[in-house]
Subunit: 483 residues, 2 copies
């Protein structure tokens, strides 16, 4: 299929990533994981929408905490996405985020169509996806709010359902048909879900939409006038050159509401295109079954796993060896700082584990031991009273901020590459096997002017070793104010 200049993909990438813990973390949500393919889910999503629209049309709806990691994963489209990031100052569910994207699309093209897609779903069948987008675009151009309906394959109680009005054919393309929506059904109980599955004319609400930006703004104005008013206010503040803080404050005051509850279920313009591509929202460890390759025993196995006799299980190993014997329908996920073991049937309860960790203020709910940064990454190898040991990786051309710590000294030993070190007035390069010491309160900088990735072992000493003991003087990534 061809790409369309007037189609603006909006990738919804604000997920919090509790259900794939411990592989996902609050600051490393599911969309950043490699699931069902060699690319991460957001990379797969980007590639998918590029079949329908040019890269410079793509908008990424996310928040500041996740933007850096997403930029790193979508670095192949760095220039195209330079102005494509829409950062929510705070999560307000999907309706306000979509309204914000609609403003942006309208500013670029008053006739623009929006293709709204979650960043963390798996879709199989690029051709079928393109065809559905084509047909839905036609209906959207006529003023419909079009959803993609997924044919149920099990009596799922976790999704909303859509019933088309079979007598209201709006358009067709090949075997695809578009209809007016007769009704939306909230998450049903098991009995109803079984009925819908049997009936054959109920479809899962996939959370993917196409509409004209102008139409969705009108409908938001009709059904969620407060959001419309906030958007008008934000537009006005922007033209007046107001501060980011002022604008963010307006957004923060919006009451959270989803686009489904807030608009789609209330609108008379809702339409549905039952699609033919395979889809999964990979909503829990158990659902990995739908998208991942299995071995002979029906197990989904990743990493250094030694198994005897297990069946229908999911076993994920990272750095460690994981040995499993005689498991059945189990999930085992082993990461450098946390391990999960549960039956597939209880995988939804991982949320509860994350809640407990959050209450305990345990770092394991927040981020991984390896933390991605714009210049590379670091991994905490060990920490204890008065010391912390990290492996720091600096990409070619990467440069940490010129910085200083009040409470800790650092020692760096080079294990790969040729880093350049700034220490107060001195600037010098280090070779593999060489080291240097950075005393407390000394301005310093680490950079990689070479072609090879730099790896150093950093040993920190001091009474306080928090990441927030940092004074940034200069930074390539605009982080001199905060971390």
């Amino acid at each position: 299929m061809t790409t369309t200049r007037s189609l603006f993909p909006v990738i919804m990438a604000g997920g919090s990533g509790t259900r794939f813990w411990p592989l996902s973390r609050h600051l490393f949500p599911k969309q950043l994981l490699r699931i069902g393919g060699e690319h991460t889910l957001i990379q797969q999503t980007m590639q998918r929408v590029l079949g329908c629209a040019p890269a410079s049309n793509v908008l990424i709806s996310t928040n500041a905490a996740q933007a850096d990691l997403i930029r790193t994963q979508l670095v192949d489209w760095k220039e195209d996405l330079a102005n494509g990031f829409l950062l929510e100052p705070e999560g307000r569910n999907t309706a306000p985020a979509i309204a914000l994207a609609a403003i942006e699309v309208l500013a670029r093209d008053p006739n623009g169509l929006m293709l709204v897609v979650p960043a963390d779903h798996v879709v199989t069948g690029q051709r079928d996806f393109g065809a559905a987008v084509q047909l839905a675009s036609q209906l959207a151009s006529k003023g419909y709010l079009v959803t993609f309906g997924i044919k149920p394959i099990r009596p799922e109680t976790g999704y909303g359902y859509i019933k088309p009005n079979g007598k209201s054919l709006l358009g067709k393309r090949g075997k695809l048909r578009g209809y007016v929506v007769q009704k939306f059904v909230e998450k049903p109980n098991a009995r109803k879900a079984a009925q819908y599955l049997k009936a054959g004319n109920y479809f899962w609400n996939s959370g993917m939409f196409i509409w004209r930006a102008a139409t969705i703004m009108e409908e938001i104005g009709l059904h969620q006038p407060a959001i419309k008013a906030s958007m008008d206010r934000i537009r006005k503040l922007r033209t007046e050159g107001a501060s980011k803080q002022q604008i963010d404050e307006v957004y923060r005051r919006i009451a959270p509401v989803s686009i489904d509850n807030g608009v789609m279920e209330r609108s008379s313009k809702a339409a549905v295109v039952p699609v033919r591509f395979k889809w999964s929202d990979v909503g829990s460890w158990g659902s990995l079954d739908e998208v991942a390759e299995k071995n002979r025993g029906g197990n989904v196995v990743t990493g250094r796993v030694i198994d005897i006799d297990s069946t229908q299980s999911i076993v994920y190993a990272d750095r460690r060896v994981v040995a499993t014997i005689g498991l059945q329908d189990m999930v085992v996920v082993d990461t450098p700082d946390a391990t999960l073991v549960c039956p597939k049937s209880r995988a939804q309860d991982v949320k509860k584990i994350v809640d407990i960790l959050k209450q305990q203020q345990a770092p394991e709910h927040l981020e991984h031991l390896t933390v991605q940064r714009p210049w590379g990454s670091y991994t905490v190898l060990e920490e204890g009273p008065g010391f912390k040991v990290k492996r720091v990786t600096v990409n070619p051309g990467g440069r940490l901020s010129l910085q200083m710590h009040h409470q800790r000294s650092e020692h760096w030993v080079v294990i790969a590459g040729t880093p350049r070190v700034t220490r107060e007035q001195e600037v010098f390069d280090l070779q593999v096997g060489e080291s240097t010491a950075i005393p407390v309160k000394t301005r310093h900088r680490l950079e990689n002017p070479g072609q090879e990735t730099v790896h150093i072992i950093e040993v920190q000493n001091g009474p306080y070793l928090g990441e927030d003991d940092i004074v940034r003087f200069k930074d390539d990534y605009g982080r001199t104010a905060s971390s």
Copy 2:
């Protein structure tokens, strides 16, 4: 009870530790683990036998690879055990090891009694143990080979059984009785095991024995004349002042045989004392149930475990958080470099996992990331091409060998304590936060002259980083020849 000058406890400590993998390793067997108490199994065993005999009578039958670790765990009895270690040059099963111990006991006391106990069993009831030893000693003094019989509590198929001749009462003490053995029964099938349990006059063979050293040597001479001949040869070589190598060679040529098969089952002098203490050989993860404390759900839980709804399971966490949901009769063991997950009913198959790791020459079957040394320990934090990062701990007064590496340089950063460093001709102390570099081929030594434990982070660089790249010039622990 009183201790007896003529009783020589022989602690059999040569186990290979596959069944408690990944907590036990080939070089860190089960006897070194804390199970069913705050002390390790070999420490519990030592304390138990000290109720019956003086510490200087205790003999430890083990091998060179394990002796250092056992010495470290039994450091409270360092002087008493100075001559108490009997090192097998190679495992030859229990009969030759017991014969070697018998020679030693005969040399110390021609009328000496031997109390043979495995180092890795759990016994509850010191008073009942002492009483059983008293009665068994009486019978042993009369020339019997006395075993301790355990009353079966389940139809176990993994143990041998002993049937006393009820008409042959040899002695009594309180409620305890001693009998001539009517027959030994090899590991039975499930039907037979159930019969024995019901019959009530069959007892488990616990692997604990008492006899006169002279009696067991006579019986070995009768039923295993080759072993007796080898022992005579070893005694002769010793009096001639032969080299350790020559003596070891004689031992190596002995065919392996167990004392049960080789002597007890053939001897007319076998006797049994059915005992009243609680006993477990903690032969697998599942058997932890018998000796460990359980929480409300019936789970045995160690470390930072977050659990929802699990029952009758064993969950062991080390440095990491382990989250478990809805487990039933499962075993989850998480160590720094290996994780095991299996149903309790399959815990015996851990052996197979260890075999696979051994075939793969994977380090995880051999030892832990933390390796105990006579001077302290080290932990591998990370390793990769050309580098290795360790945390090295040196006990107060501990001193590594004066050494040199051909292929690696090292950097040391102090994170606790005040180490003294020798580097060629220089000798200097380092403070916390200070560092030093040890270039390739430089003689160096690390020691802890202070009262506080020293911790350093060591970063190694070089093309080859094996532990065997070490030339030892001086060593406090007699290791200048090998590692």
